[in-house]
Symmetry: none
Subunit: 423 residues, 2 copies
């Protein structure tokens, strides 16, 4: 039987517009993947009466109420107190939660002695609940059931809410997800969302199991296939042909299935081949290096790089000849080429990437337009330069530029054509 | 008299988690600036019954209901039909709206002839309403009042919702905006949220106008003061003494008021003093450079840097002596020092920052614990190294490490003590 969830976010900062309710977006995605319907989101401030009212309405129309926020000392554990009261539960001290908090606090402030008193409040949880220990922050969450309505409380910060839902709440909901839901996510780089959708439209509407949903990311598209079946095997049997068809349709634009990112694809390929990489960045200003080093274990293949924001640095550190900089300007094919080759020699890596371009908001001093970017790859073959015309705000242009550089690396490591073929 | 607004977003894509409800964030900001309280956000799908229910509740507790989305042909003008019905209004054809749509359509599709029939549906608006012509898309919005409750309907796409609110709805609300709300945000680095809480607890509860609310950011705390008064001047008069008191209390931990970030504070100081900076990063792997280059115009002061992820790169590019690397290891005070001094010489900058540490997930080969970080600053005085013990996941450790380096730069540029003083 299908369950209905309702999300209640608690936090005046949401009502003041200081932050967007991204927890609701994340939870909605996760819940629909579990086959649990979400018919309502609501947001209330740090206000007991209004939270109580929202909960009283929610329990009449949903059998799963998930709250986010209002757990920490900042708000005197508003959410916990109100929900315990609504569902007639006492708050009892949870020793393990207290110990976890102390440990987390010690790690955070090894010098300053003991945890402040107000933190211990957070260790009080509704009697008989399933505690969700917080390995990503201090405030623990929990789940409990009263009269067929399940309540789940999660912390507000997305960096705690997400992992706690996936690692604590999903297991708690296991018995609800009758049958299994399996998803596969195909990642596409090199084609716009609307172009992908155009190719899939009639297709998508026809598909019911598995369902097919595209999600646009900055310069990327994620295609999520979701199948529902009594068993894992049956769900897989539904997914595989659909996945194969999509891969046939989009070819080498699909850079991976169920992998987190382009940089992750590159890391895996570099490890397989035992090759190292270094980078030289101008307009991306460290973003490409950051994306590599976001990945634990990347030190096996990523040696480092140079952020040559100034032309002088391009010359002094990377050895880009001044006459190239003078004749063609910093944003040019020859300079991108020289940057890649320069950093490769400097770092002594098998491969190297470079990026130079105009991130904006203004054109460069030579009148190159915002969004014009050159990305180059050197090593394991001839140096290759790709010209990119990225659109959108500064941050998006930088992200797209870095993704193109990673796409060059992926293509070279896989022996694919370096240019993105129009489809 | 203070008014109370309630936001109702209509769109299944929100309940599926395809998009976040950023309209609600934008509108909440704008409304609080107008001195209109927002106590509830809610989201329903493209479903007449649930929308009607949400509206019926809203009209009992709010005197302004703002809907976003659910206009336009794709959803059969769901929102318009339901709200007209709820408030007992007929929909009547609005000729000007129709003409605007035709014009917009021609601009969009100069080749294809006339607008499709279903688009004309959108020109029907509740009788007696104030039409909000849409210069940013097709579907017009509108405002009307029934029994003291005002209703405003806005299109869902943020690129239409924002401008239509500011240019159409705000004038419509003119007679309501008695009084103003002013906020000031003090940014604190170097003290944990709960410690800040402890110092402010009794204080905060006592304060009503201005109110004081702390928000935790990664390794930072934002203190927001919000005052409500009949005029800008009176609001400012309420804010200033409270702001002064907080700055006295937290001293140099306050790195700015109403500024976006530590890096922004550093950029401003560097420009004022006409000084340049370069960076050498190990465990942050480009994050510090990225944070600098997130800021447009940073090229005036930020020359670039080196991401020396490998010890070999620390030696070959930054010139860190091998015996230091061998004797103390890459994660050590002497190496942080040598990295900062090395990159400063290499880039020829007035100042330089370096970061070396263990971001995790595992301790380094010398058994240094995850979260141990050394940050150094060179130039404009003796080279100084700060030892940091950061906690949490890899990404948080990297962010906190970069913030400490920025804090060193800010303190040196302001002539403050380099160590964070316990309070």
């Amino acid at each position: 039987m299908a369950h209905t969830a309702e999300l209640i976010a608690v936090g005046t900062e949401l009502l003041l517009g200081n932050i967007a309710n991204t927890d609701a977006q994340m939870l909605s995605k996760e819940l629909s993947a579990l086959g649990i319907n979400v018919f309502h989101h609501s947001v209330v401030g740090d206000n007991p009466q209004r939270l109580r009212a929202a909960v009283e309405v929610a329990r009449t129309r949903s059998d799963l109420i998930i709250t986010t926020g209002g757990l920490g000392p900042t708000c005197d554990d508003l959410t916990k107190n109100v929900l315990a009261e609504c569902f007639g539960k006492k708050l009892v001290f949870n020793r393990e939660a207290a110990l976890r908090m102390e440990a987390y606090f010690k790690k955070l402030h090894p010098e300053s002695g003991k945890m402040t008193e107000n933190n211990y409040q957070q260790a009080y949880l509704p009697e008989g609940c399933v505690p969700f220990q917080n390995d990503w922050g201090t405030a623990p969450g929990c789940g409990f059931e009263v009269d067929g309505v399940r309540v789940i409380m999660l912390p507000g910060p997305p960096s705690e809410c997400g992992p706690m839902f996936r690692e604590r709440a999903v297991p708690y909901l296991q018995d609800w997800t009758d049958g299994v839901i399996l998803s596969r996510s195909l990642r596409i780089f090199g084609m716009g969302e609307s172009a992908v959708e155009d190719q899939l439209r009639e297709h998508m509407n026809a598909m019911t199991n598995p369902t097919l949903a595209p999600y646009a990311k900055e310069g990327e598209v994620e295609l999520r296939l979701t199948a529902k079946a009594p068993t894992q095997e049956e769900a897989r049997a539904l997914l595989t042909p659909a996945e194969t068809a999509l891969i046939r349709r989009f070819g080498e634009l699909v850079y991976g299935v169920d992998i987190p990112s382009l940089e992750w694809a590159c890391l895996t390929l570099l490890k397989e081949k035992g090759l190292t990489v270094s980078v030289a960045e101008s307009c991306t200003g460290g973003l490409l290096s950051k994306r590599f080093t976001d990945l634990p274990g990347v030190s096996a293949v990523f040696k480092g790089g140079v952020v040559s924001y100034w032309s002088q640095v391009k010359h002094d550190i990377l050895g880009v000849p001044n006459d190239l900089l003078f004749q063609y300007g910093a944003v040019s094919d020859p300079v991108a080429r020289a940057m890649a080759e320069g950093v490769r020699t400097l770092a002594g890596s098998d491969l190297s990437l470079s990026i130079t371009g105009v991130a904006g908001p203004d054109p460069d001093d030579r009148g190159n337009p915002v969004g014009l970017v050159y990305a180059a790859i050197a090593g394991q073959g001839e140096t290759f330069v790709r010209v990119i015309h990225a659109a959108g705000p500064r941050e998006r242009i930088r992200t797209v530029a870095a993704s193109h550089a990673l796409d060059l690396l992926r293509r070279r490591l896989m022996g694919l054509p370096m240019e993105i073929e129009k489809r």
